[in-house]
Each structure stands twice: as structure tokens, then as C-alpha cells.
Symmetry: C2
């Protein structure tokens, strides 16, 4: 069978026709046009998705389902998206809307969840039944696959791993709590630490690197200088790795997956990140003599959203 | 079908014959005699378990499996118990040993896991498919049921929730890490806080309550005084509840269960604990407008170990 996979982002809608093994047979995209409201956006999602079948030269009766990845959460019981900040969606009845355009079963899930599923079908965690995918970006998102299936919990709000508290009473989070993991393990955490460094030590290399404009500091700036051996940025990076590993060991303690996949912006620094995590993790794992999750970098890049969304219907 | 369930503790071995619905048809027990070593203890486990069938007046061909709950962890891939501190067991081939006495399938799992399964079959979480059981005792243990089945992870070391770090860089833990949840949410945490109080303020009510011997402080002493309105102990209790709730919201973020069941010694203070948790939890839950796990007290007491072990084979 074939599957239509759609990756909905704030900037573009990407749709692809995907086979049973996660191969993309045809893909195309269009701008999201968030400002038009959800009715128009969902119409485009449906039309773009359905058009992949004809453009790939296949028949509709070969297609089993449509899957959609969204940058928000989905209430699986009601078929409604309660929140989707990047699309400015609130209580959007996506399943009902989609039914106007197709009789195919429609599956919707969070984009990090979908990306994790894609990695477990076609990426670095292929062949495993239990994996945790983590996006290290503006925040920290998660996608959990257990027994080969997306794990969303009883109310569809599981795997909000970025808001797992690892520093009780720590830094205030956007969610209203203090000490959430994403305050310490996201790209934003590296930027914040870089800004604090420049404020406290204006003579630092990072300050020169950004020509004195601390508003322009990126996670990549901090990591690049850490890779180059700048002592201040090495310290920031080491602290980042410590907090990242604390959260990873928590995930090992609760999910005990076969593999943890690191994705998102911070993961683009590659082996520098991976080697640091791999060297510190054994120190913090609870059962040191038992096997535990291996840590890997995400392998699929732009196509993860299409492939994972398609695989929701498999 | 019927199931033999065996609850192995440091002091006694309890065995029962259990029906499909989790009802105990017959039970008996004997001292564990840890000092005799694992061969003798496992022989007793097998004989005590098998004897329940005859004593209940049933036939062996009605019995589907034997389940065993142990105060340690089980490596499901190898059939070996790597650690079981209370029994002084290390690398014990329990499946192989049991095979000498019976051809029935043998299932072994951690005692908190087993108690959680029992609650989900016959206790407060009966009727749910996804539950998290937490023992608030010397440490903090966990038993997770997902889709109606015990969740043990890929390597059998999942649900080590007591060693989830909630205070990175916090109090040293027996496991070698710092800031594990059980340092803040166990009965031991209440005792430690009580001792600190007495050391810093020898005129406190708790000090009088224990006749000046801070070595005798129990979690119940601290809770009893908090219930009576003693300001110092109320403060300790409130801090305890905060840390307990931080961990509970983490569990909601990762497992999103239908129900969280509080068991173990601290749970015996009943509604005083439950009401405190229920009133603080909504403040820390991530998706405030979405449904989330209800929190309940464990209902099964001494029989949870037998029932849950039996249900491993169901």
C-alpha cells in the first residue's frame, strides 16, 4: 500500500507519496499562508496531499491513509488540535475539515513525534521497536516510539519531555514552571548562556565573534567557539552537555529505549555533540552493568516530516 | 485459567493461587531465609507456589503460569536477576532454577511493577489501560502499565523513576548521581528533613515528640505533626509535596497515564497526602486545559504482590 504524508510548518506545507518501506515516490510543496486561517490551509493540505497520487502516476485505490504532522498537539479522542502556536491554531477540527476532501483515514500527530517515527522506519533508529527522538531547537521536543508504534499517552499529551523538570526551582520557563529541561538543553539555553557570558565578560572571544552585538548570538556561535577551544565557550558547552545528559538519563530511566536520536538545530554540530554526550552518559546511567540506549544523531533531514506523517497510517 | 503468584520479600515468601479476575483462591507463606542462598530460596518459591494448587483443591492443568515479584530488577532477555539487594542476590538465574521444579511458564518482575499491575487489575486503577504506580518508601519505586501490559522497556530497566533527576546538582543519591527524585519524595526525605529541623532548632515540637532522640524520627512523626498544624513540620511537608508534585508532573509529561497510584509507607497518611497532591498538581501540569491523570491512593495492601505476580502470566 501507499501513504500520503504531509508536513505542515509555519512557512510551508510539504506533501509526499510514500511506500510501505518509507521511500518517497513523489513530493511537492506550497507556502502555508497561515494568515488565511485554518479552513484555507487545511484545504491546501488535502489538495496538495491528494495531488501526489496522480503526479506519482499511481491510483487512489493504492492509498491506505493520509498522515499529517503539525507543530502542535493533537487530541486523538476528539480529532481536534487544541494548540498549534506556529499556525496560530486553537481548537481546530482538522479531522472534520479533512473529511470534506477525502474518505481516506486521516492521522494527525505532533511534528517531533512524526520525525521520531520517520527515523525509526527509515532513519538511524530503523529496525528498533523502542526509540526516543529529541529535537534540540528553540525548545526541546520529543517523539517516542514504543513497540513500533507512536506513543502518545492516554490523553495525547505524553512525550512533552522538554517540560520535564530537571532543576526544581531553577530558571523560569515559558510554561509557568521553573527548571524545565528545555531551559537547559535547547539551542535557546546556549544562546542565553552566551549572552550572560558577554554581559559578565565583555572581553570574551564570543563578544568579538558577534561584533559586540549580543542579540545576534546563535547556538552555532557558542558551539563553534567551543570546538575551537575557547575556554569560556567550552565551559558553556560542558554545562549544556551535563544538563542534556541529566535529561537523557531520565528518559532512559522512564522509557528504557533501544536508541535515543538527537535531532534539531543543535544536533547539526554533529560528532562534537555526539561524542560529548556519549562520553558523559555512562557516568550518569543508573544500571551501569546493564545495556542501555545508544545515542545517535538524526539521519533524515527535510524528508522526516513527510515520511513520518505517512507512516502514521501504516 | 488460574495463575500462581509469588511475592518474594526479604522476610517472607508469600504464594497464592489467583483466578482470571485477580481473586486469590488460596494463599500461604513461609520465611525467606535469605542466608541460605538462592538455590534453597528458589526451591521454596517453587514448592510453595505449586502447593497452592492442591491446597485450593484445583488441578495443575488449570494453571497457566507462575509469576514472581522480586525486590530487584529482572533481565527479561537472559532470565537472570542482576541485582536484588534485599535478598543479597547477584546474577541469579531464576528462570533456569525454576525450570527444575515446573514446566509452567515463569514470569519475573520488580515488586513495584507487580504491585502496579495488581492495582490495575483489581485495585484503584482497575479498568484503566495506562497507569503509573509509585511506592513512596525508603526509596521511590515505580510500576508502569501501558496498554494493559507491564512496561519494562527495551532492556528491562525502565520505570526507575526514583532515579529521575529533578534537582540537577542537588542532594547526593545512593546511586552516585545528585538530585534524584527519591532524595526528595521518599519517606527517607521526610526523615532527613525532620533530623535537619531538630539539629537546627532543638526547641521544635518534633524534638519533644521523639524525646530528643532524632535517630528515631519516622516519616509518620513528621506527617502527624504536620497534620496537627505544627508550623515547622507543615513547612517540611509542603516542601515534600512540592518535590513530589514536580516528579508527578514529569511522569505525566512522559507517560500521560490515566491514573497515578500512590503506594508505599508515606501513602498510609491517606487523604492528607492525597488532598495536598491534588491541590498543587494543577498548578504544575503543562497542558492545563487538557485532561490529565487523576491521582489516587493504592487500595490493595498486602495482597498486591501475590495478585500482581500472578497477573504477569495473564
Amino acid at each position: 500500500m501507499l501513504y500520503i504524508g504531509i508536513d505542515v510548518g509555519g512557512m510551508s506545507i510539504k506533501a509526499g507519496l510514500v511506500d510501505e518501506e518509507g521511500n518517497i515516490l513523489f513530493k511537492h510543496s506550497c507556502p502555508t499562508g497561515v494568515e488565511r486561517g485554518y479552513v484555507a490551509v487545511i484545504r491546501d493540505i488535502a489538495q496538495l496531499g491528494l495531488a501526489t497520487v496522480e503526479k506519482a502516476g499511481r491510483r487512489m485505490d493504492e492509498v491506505k491513509a493520509i498522515g499529517i504532522g503539525i507543530p502542535g498537539i493533537m487530541d486523538q479522542r476528539t480529532g481536534i488540535i487544541p494548540f498549534c502556536t506556529n499556525l496560530a491554531w486553537h481548537d481546530v477540527p482538522i479531522i472534520e475539515e479533512m473529511k470534506q476532501y477525502t474518505d481516506l483515514p486521516v492521522y494527525v500527530d505532533n511534528d517531533a513525534t512524526v520525525a521520531g517515527l520517520a527515523e525509526s522506519v527509515k532513519g538511524v533508529s530503523a529496525g528498533t521497536q523502542n526509540s526516543v527522538f529529541i529535537t534540540l531547537g528553540t525548545g526541546v521536543g520529543g517523539g517516542v516510539v514504543l513497540n513500533g508504534k507512536v506513543f502518545s499517552g492516554a490523553h495525547g499529551v505524553a512525550t512533552e519531555i522538554g517540560h520535564m523538570v530537571t532543576v526544581a526551582g531553577g530558571l523560569p520557563c515559558t510554561c509557568g514552571k521553573r527548571g524545565c529541561w528545555e531551559r537547559y538543553a535547547s539551542a535557546t539555553a546556549l544562546i542565553r548562556a552566551g549572552r550572560v557570558l558577554c554581559a559578565e565578560k565583555p572581553s570574551c572571544t564570543l563578544m568579538k565573534h558577534v561584533d559586540g552585538d549580543i542579540r545576534t548570538i546563535t547556538a552555532k556561535d557558542v558551539i563553534d567557539l567551543a570546538m575551537a577551544g575557547d575556554a569560556d565557550c567550552v565551559k558553556i558547552f560542558d554545562d549544556y552537555i551535563y544538563h542534556l545528559v541529566v535529561g537523557l538519563t531520565n528518559l532512559i530511566n522512564v522509557y528504557d529505549p533501544e536508541v535515543i536520536v538527537l535531532g534539531g538545530g543543535v544536533s547539526h554540530c554533529g560528532d562534537f555533540l555526539l561524542n560529548a554526550v556519549r562520553s558523559l552518559l555512562p557516568k550518569y546511567v543508573f544500571f551501569k552493568s546493564m545495556p542501555y540506549a545508544r545515542v545517535e544523531l538524526a539521519r533524515l533531514t527535510n524528508d522526516a516530516g513527510i515520511i513520518g506523517a505517512a507512516m502514521l497510517g501504516r
